[in-house]
Amino acid sequence: MSLVLDIFTIVAVSAGAFFFLAGTVGLLRFPDTLTRLHALTKADNLGLGLVVLGLLPQAQQPFDVIKLIAIWLFALLAGATVGQLMARVARRERPTP
């Protein structure tokens, strides 16, 4: 049982790490501010979600699971709103037709 859970953790955390990698590559390669925002908000939030998912079986107490999920939801809300706010600022700084 423990082994299965550990394998689940390893798979999910690795997938999360992969999306952090993808997000960083996107930040490095994408051409302008707005496209880079896509890379940041989507890939990194998914990466965090997968890390959280992978850590769920490792939680020491049942309530820690709730906290982990809450952490992800807060980060998601922050990412979604900040992404939009930044997009507006970026659009204003360099207006694209």
Binding site: S14, L27, T33, L40, L48, G79, V82, A90
Partner: protein
């Protein structure tokens, strides 16, 4: 290699990705690019923190991550507030009494 070692390594990897993304972002060119750094650090930092915390079995890490996630948008909001303009859908501020 135990699962805890794996989580530590994953934390280091996520941190490295964040650091790499930071280079790109901090170079700009726009302020919005720079502000993305805080968002990136918010998400990546929370992930690394959770991985480190679970790896070292420190439960208090969850509360730290909860705080970080809750305040993840805070710096960006301060930025958006200061980068004001006259557009209708954006925050404006005035000094008039």
């Amino acid at each position: 290699m135990t699962i805890l070692d794996f989580l530590l390594a994953a934390a280091a990897f996520v941190l490295a990705m964040v650091a790499l993304g930071l280079v790109r972002i901090l170079r700009g060119p726009e302020d919005a690019d720079r502000m993305m750094a805080t968002q990136l650090f918010g998400t990546g930092g929370i992930a690394a923190l959770l991985l480190l915390g679970v790896a070292t079995e420190a439960r208090a890490v969850l509360d730290v991550a909860l705080t970080l996630a809750l305040l993840a948008a805070f710096a960006s909001v301060a930025f958006v507030r200061s980068a004001s303009s006259s557009e209708g859908d954006d925050p404006k501020e005035t000094n008039s009494p």
